[in-house]
Symmetry: C2
Subunit: 172 residues, 2 copies
DNA sequence: CTTATTACGTCAGACTTGTTGACTTTCCAA
DNA sequence: TTGGAAAGTCAACAAGTCTGACGTAATAAG
């Protein structure tokens, strides 16, 4: 079951890093890094009545203004009932605006209000700062590897979703 | 606020990758990759009455058999009330054994039973398989960068915790 | 020896985030 | 005009987290 040898059975390269122990270290690094990664926004959100779910909604509405509820549902991978509660709170508090779709009027298109944009910036800036610092410390080559491994970890559908995310049209 | 230029103000290197847009892509990659990363164990756990919290407990008991409840609390970063519920279920179901500490009899030392070890292996093997495949696809240099960036993202205490984790004495 | 502290366990109550299932409303399209 | 898709709503529940309070046992400190 376990690979005690530390050399992959096939493949000509030096694959010492594929020992179970090295893989376990990678798994643990993901666990610890993700916790650190979410720590800063969580601190801000804890003061308000919001949680991580609200942050995620704000993030994806910011990066693709006017997206429909279904599209948001898709990218977040939760049920509409779950998202609805979050969205309702954000709309009631005036952070998100829900407009009737102009092509298909059944659809709702979501936009951040000025207030919503302000909170999104405040949240994402802490996360960007951490990421920027990590990128700077590790260097360009490491960043490239970081991105390569993360993408290779995604399943087909997730990767497709990730790749299809458009660039920000207007970095406000 | 936003860095539209795309070149870091200081630093002689090519720091194009530090634009806000590149940082946002990194943030999203973390989000999607972490979701994929936990998907396989979650599927297995869903069948039983267990969740991600049980998996984490099994993982750290496996990697450091005999650790005390306080030590586990520390590494997981949750409250004892939260952990207690998880631990009680695992002990009642015969996956974890809690022995009175031989040095300090107030302490409880935690061990996996054979049954617990079997589940831990089943869970971690799916995660290792994904990580192995990602590592193989990305190559050794990318793996090195991946690890560097993840470590650079951790805060001091988390990094200290991560570094202090011992290697597995007996990869059973 | 008495007292304080530590480690652990437990009970109660709350919140966030997720789930299913059932139902209504709206509205496009055949 | 009617069927079906998109969206929203309500109810009930579960996992996992939290805080606060309390009890017990064992060690450490005085």
């Amino acid at each position: 079951m376990q690979n005690k040898v530390g050399i992959a059975p096939v493949g000509g390269e030096n694959l010492l890093f594929l020992t179970d122990d090295q893989l376990r270290r990678g798994i643990e690094a993901m666990f610890f890094a993700y916790r650190a990664f979410t720590a800063d926004p969580d601190l801000i959100l804890a003061d308000m009545d919001y949680g991580r779910a609200h942050h995620r909604a704000l993030h994806f509405i910011h990066r693709d203004p006017g997206l429909t509820v279904t599209a948001l549902l898709d990218v977040l991978g939760v049920t509409k009932q779950s998202l609805n509660r979050v969205l309702r709170a954000l709309i009631e508090d005036g952070l998100v605006e829900s407009r009737v779709g102009h092509r298909d009027r059944r659809e709702r298109q979501l936009f951040l209000t000025e207030k919503g944009g302000a909170l999104e910036r405040r949240l994402s800036e802490t996360q960007r700062a951490r990421m920027r610092s990590a990128y700077r410390a590790a260097g360009p080559q490491a960043v490239s590897g970081f991105r390569q491994v993360l993408e290779a970890m995604m399943d087909r559908d997730t990767l497709r979703q990730f790749k299809s995310l458009k660039d920000l049209p207007d970095p406000s």
